[in-house]
Point group: C2
């Protein structure tokens, strides 16, 4: 599978938000993350960086 883990970058470092993320979609409150099992999480953030071979999605607060 080609999922990635989503991290929120903060001043303290990177905080894991959701593992095994498949989809990231725009949402009125920020982003909708959906993992490979269909579990969803909404977060007020934007996608900052991707490092897919490392399975990382880096999010930042708007």
């Amino acid at each position: 599978m080609c999922e990635a883990n989503a991290y929120l970058r903060t001043e303290e470092g990177e905080e894991l938000v959701l593992e095994a993320v498949d989809r990231v979609l725009p949402h009125e409150e920020g982003l909708l993350l959906e993992d490979i099992f269909g579990r969803r999480k909404i977060i007020r953030a934007r996608i900052s960086e991707l490092a897919l071979v490392e399975h990382k999605i880096i999010l930042e607060r708007d």
Copy 2:
């Protein structure tokens, strides 16, 4: 490998920008895309959506 293909969403549909993308980084002119071979492309766009199981990164013009 867990790379994805980057597409630019336009009014006409989705246009392939770069295959086998590993990294996407912020750049002063938009985004810097780097594929798994280290080839780079800069595009004035932002990340709109991800569908990683489908190996898709969807970009949109700012």
